[in-house]
Symmetry: C2
Subunit: 245 residues, 2 copies
DNA sequence: CGTTATTTTGAGCTGTTTCAAGCGCCGTGG
DNA sequence: CCACGGCGCTTGAAACAGCTCAAAATAACG
């Protein structure tokens, strides 16, 4: 999956203007109450839509930061790399979510993001977003909220990694995926995971074998039905009990 | 340590105006290049200094969010609580650092912050900060950077929790404390930890006994000298090797 | 339809936790 | 001033969760 090659496709294919006002992710991505005039200006912001094939990098660690990206379709994973080759998956992002917030800090991306399936994103040039959010308070508020939400999310993962055991972590993961599926109007019980056991393990701080065993054990207990990456949740409430809520 | 009681002290004692231009933490807390006029306006922002005794809450989970706080002296820990009583320390914050970013997301604090020693903070009312950062682009940029830096920091902790073993985690912790000590012009090798083994353990996802054993082992290896919470680092470079950098 | 990647499962091993006991330090009260 | 109790820290021994290594089963893919 070559990024340069991909770039060629984009210039050919995705010259379409992106109209936020028509986007069905409007509510998730930039849900601010805007006047018609403000909406017009917002649409000038994100006039670029880009496509990425499975495995393509959206950005790499060390890349110069220019834009945030709103995921329009598909999904990405983000990961941080350690000098010694260790890696940690820090997030799985799906449609409607904003990616790249880490890089505002230093203007350099500190983690990398790759497409887990063929995906599309709206580019949101940071300088324009900053300018616009100086002029539209509700947009400013929203940008702050997005960043703060990311901090809260990360703290939740810290809680998970720091104080839960393997099966609790997996239960929390499944519930999270279920919830986010539901937000997109999809089934809360039928999940089609886009990531491998290895990636889930990295995210949850577990080895892939442990993830696999936990899946099998949940199935034996009648909590879920596992068919490779297709998971059916049979007992949502019992999973909730496992993570203590 | 009663917060109400503490409030009385504040109204008596700390009516002092806070002059950012004279604050020796200026560089850390809000280091933006401002014109004299802008600086004056910034100082109107944070005119409240508050004191907290050891163990006092700066805020609790569920509290309504009004202000961020810049730590002027002392230190705080933040923690998230789980419904089932589980808790996770998510950060140790010291002078010059900004606390409370998690709450912007929902206007409600999702974690709680307590003073680990007698401490002072500058209150930064969020609405004023937002207003001012709409008018001063470099301040806006700085607010974004602070939030982004928090995200990067959290990702680093996720890496630590997800893929390091006990002694690597402790080494990373000591190096981090050393570095932050140095930023404040203090020794990079003489640390006076403000937190217990239990709190370190919670932060690092380890039991307190494991933390204690790791300290002892480091001492046996000649990496550090341990006298309860006073730690002397004897071999910084070896600690760095341990975490692979 | 063969080849490769992913997933499952088993068996043994290891790092971390658990449980338990002892030590040192500090503040309180006799 | 010393005894006492409490708290935080250290240390040991045993238990256990999750890891490693290995192999087989299954799914994905050209």
């Amino acid at each position: 999956m070559n990024v340069a090659l991909n770039d060629i496709n984009q210039t050919e294919i995705t010259r379409l203007r992106v109209a936020c006002s028509n986007c069905n992710l409007r509510e998730l991505c930039l849900p601010v109450d805007l006047t018609p005039d403000e909406m017009t200006r917002l649409e000038e912001l994100s006039n670029q839509k880009r496509s990425y094939a499975t495995g393509d990098y959206l950005y790499r660690s060390g890349d110069r930061f220019k834009s945030l990206h709103a995921i329009r379709s598909g999904s990405f994973k983000t990961r941080v790399l350690h000098e010694d080759g260790r890696e940690q998956v820090t997030g799985f992002l799906m449609a409607g979510e904003i990616i790249g917030l880490d890089a505002i800090s230093t203007d350099i991306h500190t983690c990398e993001a790759l497409a887990m399936e063929d995906s599309e994103v709206c580019e949101l040039p940071y300088s324009k977003l900053a300018e616009l959010s100086r002029e539209i308070p509700s947009l400013q508020r929203h940008v702050h909220k997005i960043m703060s939400r990311e901090i809260v999310r990360d703290q939740g993962i810290m809680l998970l990694l720091g104080s839960m055991r393997a099966e609790e972590r997996l239960a929390a993961f499944l519930l999270n995926m279920s919830q986010r599926n539901a937000i997109h109007g999809m089934s809360a019980t039928q999940l089609r995971l886009r990531m491998s056991r290895l990636e889930i393990g990295s995210y949850l701080g577990l080895k892939l074998e442990t993830v696999s065993r936990a899946f099998s054990h949940f199935q034996d207990e009648g909590l879920i039905q596992v068919k490779a990456r297709a998971i059916e949740i049979l007992a949502l409430s019992k999973l909730r009990e496992m993570v203590g809520k």
